[in-house]
């Protein structure tokens, strides 16, 4: 049996990859995908704990997160597509109309 710590470490690694991606990448799609990686890292952690404590709450929570993530993906991707159409770029540093 794989010990819980392995899942947790994997989750942490995934989270780190995701967050580094969000921070250092400029492409909106990449950033978006990194956010998704982070979410799934958290999901993994939740499931791992859920299993380890033998409680179902964590898994229910994960279902919720997945639902929300799906909705978010729909809206987020739509925004990115529109942005690409309007601005012709996906570089977030170029999209600074509302930055002071």
């Amino acid at each position: 049996m794989v010990p819980t710590s392995h899942y947790l470490i994997l989750g942490a690694i995934l989270f780190a990859i995701g967050s580094f991606g969000v921070i250092f990448r400029r492409n909106a799609i990449t950033m978006f995908m990194c956010v998704e990686i982070m979410l799934n890292a958290v999901n993994l952690t939740l499931v791992a704990y859920s299993r380890s404590f033998n409680q179902v709450d964590g898994q229910i929570f994960v279902i919720f997160v997945m639902v929300v993530a799906a909705a978010e993906a729909a809206v987020g991707l739509a925004l990115i597509v529109l942005l690409n159409k309007r601005r012709g770029t996906l570089d977030v540093d170029q999209i600074d109309t509302m930055r002071w």
């Binding site: 969000v22 921070i23 250092f24 977030v92 600074d96 509302m98």
Partner: protein
């Protein structure tokens, strides 16, 4: 009648109110009538009360009437209460009597001035305030009058307010008086602390029980009396606060006569006489009072010699005569001080009113070097002025002789007196005779040097429409009061005849109940009547010498003064410039204070230090905010980094401390 003497206060108050509020619409005759009538009514009430008072037994001559409680806070109580006793009776008679004459005089003198109603309203208000001052039965009511007369003085000095000098003089008078009042107030606080009451009789009883004899050394009592005396130096124009009085001559001449000669300026003398229970137990202060009085008398007499303005001569003469009164108080002869106060009120009012008559005839020319030979045109004025001048010079038989002589005798003989003070007094008597006759000769005798004044010189738009070249005697309302005052100046001395002439001194005898709580020191050794008479002879001789010198210098050999002044040019210039006292005050006090307030306190401290600190705080916050703002740069990823770092830190913190 006696119990309701206080109604005499109401007449001038009502007169002031009527004239002040609706005088603008009243005809001039009515205004004058109201004002004079009000004071006359007061005088009559005072006279009736006085007569009734004399009918009472000596120990029953203190009548107190309390109208209402004015201020009450714990043990501190001040009632609007009034005291009618011999001292206030004498004072109120002088105030309302001389006041009435001057009111009548003013009808003629102020004829045609704009602000006629204003003038009479202020004048009536003055009589009211002065009556409060002398009738109050506690220190605080006296202080109301004390400040009130100061206000009226301010308003009346500034009567010709279109002129800059009038405004300056008015303000100066008020402020200098305030300096005195500052000390006076501290004196009042101390009286309440020490004696638990500011009512005269309570305080005096208390002082009598706690100080059976004189105070030794400079103690609380000396401090109280000294503070009150500083107040008196302000009101009564003594060194070092006399400087306002000569400037106060900017007011109309009747005002100078009433306020700045006969009544208000003598308030300090009245106050000391009233507080004689305190003063008589404080020998240290008495010495100061006597010395200041003598010094002021001498200083002012010297300055008077060099003055060219007829009113300024009289003003310095007033300061000098007030000095005499303080000498009297300082040697413990309070009744003598009041006696001189009375005779001085007569002859000095007469002198001022006479000078007013001259000024009117000369179309507001006040320089005595531009007069001369006026006797021919103004024989009546000359006559009364001569009487008054003889009286002030101390020629035997006239009122001034008796009062001045009594002061000098007391200065010589009383336990607190000293031959040195007497000598100073005699010297001043000689100087007085000299400068008064100088003024009289220059004005009325000798060569005609008449230069009529221009109205604009002293008044703004002035309506005296007689433009004849020759000076003329003024009308009845001016001449009448002059006559009455002349009679009083001659006969006024009879109420206080010296011991070598009469068995009892009427005035002393009458005033005695008011001085009941006073401490009377043992006299050391009897002085003979012969000595008293001899000293009076010396004074008279010195006075006559002064007259003779003036005669020589200004009539017989008119070039002499010039030669003398050239010989003694330094001294002469110093006297002409009034010993530079005003300039010294300006340079030492006024300018530095002003400079300090403006450049250091306001500009540097207020705007620089405090506001600098306040605005500096704001600036520092702003600078920090500018820096901190950079963290919020609009890049989501930088926020994410911060969040991540923060989370990591928290994580580290908890995992470290949880362990």
């Amino acid at each position: 009648m006696l119990e309701s003497f206080w109604i005499l206060l109401l007449f001038p108050l009502a007169g002031a109110a009527v004239n002040g509020l609706c005088g603008k619409r009243l005809p001039h005759k009515l205004i004058g009538l109201i004002a004079c009538g009000a004071v006359l009514a007061s005088f009559l009430v005072a006279a009736l009360a006085f007569v009734e008072l004399t009918g009472r037994a000596a120990d029953d001559r203190l009548v107190t009437v309390s109208l209402f409680t004015w201020i009450e806070a714990g043990e501190f109580v001040s009632r609007a209460a009034f005291l009618f006793d011999p001292l206030s009776a004498v004072m109120i008679l002088i105030v309302t009597g001389v006041g009435f004459l001057i009111h009548v005089y003013s009808i003629g003198y102020m004829h045609g001035e704009d602000g006629y109603y204003r003038y009479f309203s202020y004048l009536n208000l003055f009589i009211f305030m002065m009556s409060l001052l002398v009738l109050g039965d506690n220190f605080l009511v006296m202080f109301v009058g004390w400040e009130g007369v100061g206000l009226c003085s301010y308003l009346l000095i500034g009567y010709y307010f279109k002129e800059r000098f009038a405004g300056d003089a008015a303000k100066k008078a008020f402020v200098v008086n305030r300096v005195g009042d500052f000390a006076f107030l501290l004196g009042l606080f101390l009286i309440f602390r020490e004696f638990g009451s500011i009512t005269y009789l309570d305080a005096f009883q208390s002082v009598q029980s706690s100080y059976p004899g004189m105070e030794t050394g400079f103690g609380i009592l000396s401090l109280i009396t000294l503070l009150l005396f500083i107040g008196a130096t302000g009101k009564s124009a003594q060194t070092p606060l006399y400087v306002w009085l000569p400037d106060a001559m900017a007011g109309p001449t009747p005002v100078s006569a009433l306020i700045h000669a006969a009544t208000m300026v003598t308030a300090g003398v009245y106050m000391i006489a009233r507080c004689s229970p305190l003063y008589s137990r404080a020998p240290e202060t008495l010495l100061i009072v006597a010395v200041v009085g003598a010094a002021t008398a001498l200083l002012a007499a010297l300055i008077a010699i060099g003055q060219r303005d007829i009113k300024k001569v009289l003003a310095y003469s007033t300061v000098s005569q007030l000095g005499y009164m303080f000498v009297a108080c300082g040697v413990g002869a309070y009744a003598a001080g009041i006696f001189h106060l009375m005779t001085h009120a007569f002859f000095k009012a007469l002198l001022f009113l006479g000078s007013g008559s001259v000024i009117l005839a000369m179309h507001h020319q006040q320089n005595i070097f531009k007069m001369g030979g006026l006797k021919k045109y103004l024989p009546y004025t000359w006559g009364v002025m001569l009487v008054a001048t003889l009286a002030i010079a101390g020629v035997p038989g006239l009122s001034g002789f008796f009062s001045k002589d009594e002061i000098l005798w007391q200065a010589f003989s009383s336990p607190q007196g000293h031959p040195l003070i007497w000598a100073l007094g005699v010297a001043v008597a000689g100087l007085t005779a000299f400068y008064m006759f100088r003024m009289l000769f220059l004005t009325f005798h000798g060569q005609e040097r008449i230069e009529m004044g221009h109205h604009d010189d002293s008044h703004g738009e002035d309506d005296h429409s007689h433009h004849d070249a020759k000076p003329q005697e003024p009308g009845w309302s001016v001449r009448g009061p002059l006559g009455v005052l002349a009679v009083l100046s001659v006969l006024g001395g009879l109420v206080g005849l010296p011991a070598w002439l009469a068995s009892t001194n009427q005035l002393h005898h009458f005033l005695e109940p008011s001085f009941h709580y006073q401490f009377v020191p043992e006299a050391h050794g009897e002085h003979s009547h012969a000595l008293e008479m001899g000293l009076a002879g010396v004074t008279t001789l010195i006075g006559l010498m002064g007259i003779f010198v003036a005669y020589t210098a200004y009539l017989r050999r008119p070039h002499l003064p010039e030669q003398v002044s050239q010989r003694l040019s330094g001294l002469y210039r110093l006297i002409r410039q009034k010993f530079l006292v005003d300039e010294a005050y300006d340079a030492v006090i006024i300018r530095p204070t002003h400079w300090l307030s403006k450049n250091v306190l306001w500009k540097v401290f207020d705007d620089g230090v405090i506001d600098g600190a306040v605005n500096g705080t704001a600036t520092v916050v702003q600078i920090w905010a500018q820096q901190l703002r950079k963290i919020q740069n609009g890049y989501v990823r930088s926020y994410a980094t911060w969040i991540l770092l923060g989370t990591a830190l928290l994580f580290a913190y908890f995992s470290y401390f949880a362990a």
